[in-house]
């Protein structure tokens, strides 16, 4: 990743950006941790390998980081989709961020080949993604659990999710790592009146997890971070992927590919299917 470090140092040196958000390895740890490099010396610590999971786009909408100057972020394909989705939703200015595109052949696998694809603007990232993912679909192997759940009857599906949600401790790690969960006040924090049951029990956890998934319908860019960080191993991406496939089927839309496209939930077309009006 020497090219990544060289490019980063040059950008920081030239003042093109104020901070580069990437990854570093702390001693003895198996998973990389985020690094905020603000000068060329700090940039020496940058790494990119198959343990660099965090979707760093999450930091772009944080108020605490607004004073660090124009950011560049080290971004895998899904992370670039997150930035584009944030541009689509008016949360990030297209020229307000530089993307340092990286790829890994197999995330999580030891010594998987990784590469730096160069610095990209949001428009260049969109072209890169359009070429690489022409059909914008979720890969079939990622739909395995969704398919298994579809084959169940309603009762079995309910029991499956009740068992999963019974472990939820409502730590909201799923929400906090999600770049698209940028609401200043989440609905579970609205307590006058209380909209979502606050208790850490299956009913409250069900209400929370369903609410989270629905609010990400047509917005989730499938980075999988919610599921990876869940301390209780709840298979959260199955909910998001089901909703993403429904949106794709009905509205021929996937978020995070075209920075000019209106978000599906903020758009209306005369030929939208309307069979759900009964």
């Amino acid at each position: 990743m020497n090219e990544l470090i060289t490019k980063t140092k040059q950008m920081l040196h030239d003042g093109e950006v104020g901070v580069v958000i990437g990854y570093e390895r702390k001693n003895g740890r198996t998973v990389a941790t985020p690094l905020f490099a603000r000068n060329p010396e700090e940039a020496e610590r940058l790494i990119f390998d198959s343990t660099c999971h965090t979707n760093l786009a999450v930091y772009l909408t944080r108020e605490d980081h607004a004073n660090l100057g124009r950011p560049a972020i080290v971004a895998k394909d899904a992370d670039m989709r997150a930035v584009i989705a944030l541009v689509q939703e008016g949360q990030v200015e297209a020229d307000g961020v530089v993307l340092l595109s990286v790829s890994c052949d197999e995330m999580g696998a030891a010594n998987a080949p990784c590469r730096f694809n160069g610095a990209m603007s949001v428009a260049e990232a969109a072209k890169w993604l359009a070429k690489k993912y022409p059909d914008k679909k979720i890969a079939p192997d990622k739909m395995a659990l969704v398919d298994k759940l579809e084959a169940m009857n309603e009762r079995e599906r309910w029991d499956f999710w009740q068992n999963e949600f019974s472990r939820c401790i409502r730590c909201y790690a799923c929400r906090q790592v999600c770049p698209l969960c940028y609401c200043r006040q989440c609905i579970v924090e609205k307590n006058q009146p209380q909209w979502v049951m606050p208790g850490i029990h299956p009913a409250g956890a069900t209400a929370w997890n369903i609410t989270r998934a629905f609010h990400l319908a047509g917005r989730c860019i499938d980075c999988g971070e919610c599921e990876r960080v869940c301390p209780m191993d709840i298979p959260l991406t199955a909910l998001n992927r089901k909703l993403a496939s429904t949106v794709a089927e009905h509205f021929d839309y996937a978020p995070g590919f075209d920075p000019e496209a209106k978000p599906v939930m903020a758009n209306f077309k005369h030929d939208d299917k309307q069979e759900f009006f009964k």
């Binding site: 702390k26 990389a32 941790t33 401790i169 909201y172 906090q176 606050p198 301390p231 191993d233």
Partner: protein
């Protein structure tokens, strides 16, 4: 203190031998990738494969959610009642020494300005059989907070694995003795030799950290340490010592309950006033609170840190924050207070 031995075969029979009507036996159980404490039946396999369970022991004393009172609408008005006790006699098998050591620290809190009846009832009804550690990982730091892989604090009986695959049984309390009497047929008088305990490196000096914390409430270091933190509550909920809670009403048309449930100082809502003002508006101020509370305020009040070094917060942090690394930095990088500092007299 008495010592006995137990063979691996007899250890595996504990859930079966201990099963009684009205008694709950809790032990680490594997469910897919997750090893967690759960009630076990006579046939359940205890899983001691992991260095530590996903969640700590605390929820069996301080549950995720519990009703404080229930209420319902009747023809004669609102009727309120105390919830029935939820936990009778309980035996925990296979807690690590760090988890058990968190219990005396929690006792201090739950008997401080208010005696928490529900918590104390569960403590009195529970006997803890813990197990010493022969392995540790990069996240363990019990030796930095006054513990060790063979920390007997909070345990009634402690087991140490022996060279013959069984366990050395140390009987530490009266509750432990009563249980050992019940299990007399399974125990031998001649225990095997214990395997060497894990060597857990010391990562910081808790006394020096405390002094540095007293002197550095305001420091630019806090913003730097908290920079990558995303303010979820994972570290606080997996922590055996964190004990903050919220109280709310959950009600339907005909009635409901006033519940107490875990809450986290890392959530912005935790300190938000009804006026809208928030005294901890930034993640730096919230992260400072977590560290100050555990390593400065708690020792001031109760003479012990509110951390047992189990390492769960490090293992499970979504962005890999390592509190032991932060504490070492506070010890080494936080500026010392000048001798004439105005706060010297407080």
């Amino acid at each position: 203190m008495q010592t006995r031995g137990i063979s691996k075969k007899n250890f595996d029979r504990l859930p079966e031998v201990l099963a009684r009507a009205g008694r709950t036996v809790i032990a680490p159980v594997r469910n897919g990738e997750v090893v967690a404490f759960a009630a076990v039946g006579p046939d359940t396999a205890i899983c001691l494969d992991e260095i530590n369970t996903r969640l700590s022991l605390k929820e069996f004393f301080f549950p995720r959610t519990e009703p404080l009172l229930t209420f319902r609408r009747t023809e004669n008005g609102i009727e309120m009642s105390d919830p029935a006790p939820t936990q009778g006699e309980t035996i925990v098998i296979g807690a690590r020494g760090c988890d058990a050591a968190a219990l005396p620290a929690l006792d201090a809190l739950f008997n401080w300005d208010f005696r928490d009846e529900a918590y104390n009832r569960r403590r009195e009804n529970t006997t803890v059989i813990s197990i010493a550690c022969n392995d540790c990982d990069a996240c363990c730091f019990c030796t930095s907070v006054g513990g060790s892989p063979h920390n007997t604090a909070g345990s009634d009986i402690m087991l140490s694995e022996t060279r013959d695959g069984g366990y050395l049984v140390e009987i530490l309390t009266q509750k432990g003795e009563a249980l050992a009497d019940e299990l007399a047929d399974l125990l031998s008088e001649a225990p095997g030799e214990a395997l060497p305990y894990a060597e857990v490196p010391v990562k910081f000096d808790a006394q020096k950290v405390r002094r540095a914390l007293e002197e550095n409430f305001d420091s630019p270091l806090w913003a730097e340490l908290a920079r990558t933190c995303l303010s979820c509550g994972c570290c606080t909920y997996v922590c055996p010592n964190c004990h903050c809670f919220d109280m709310q009403d959950e009600a339907g048309k005909s009635g409901g309950a006033r519940i107490r449930m875990w809450d986290s100082c890392q959530f912005p809502l935790f300190t938000k006033h009804t006026s809208g003002h928030n005294p901890r508006p930034t993640q730096a101020s919230r992260w400072r609170q977590r560290i100050q509370h555990k390593f400065n305020y708690y020792p001031q009040k109760f003479d012990c840190v509110s951390c047992v070094g189990c390492g769960r917060c490090i293992r499970l942090c979504p962005v890999g924050i390592d509190i032991s690394e932060h504490l070492a930095r506070i010890e080494n990088e936080a500026p010392e207070r000048p001798a004439d500092h105005p706060n010297d007299n407080y």
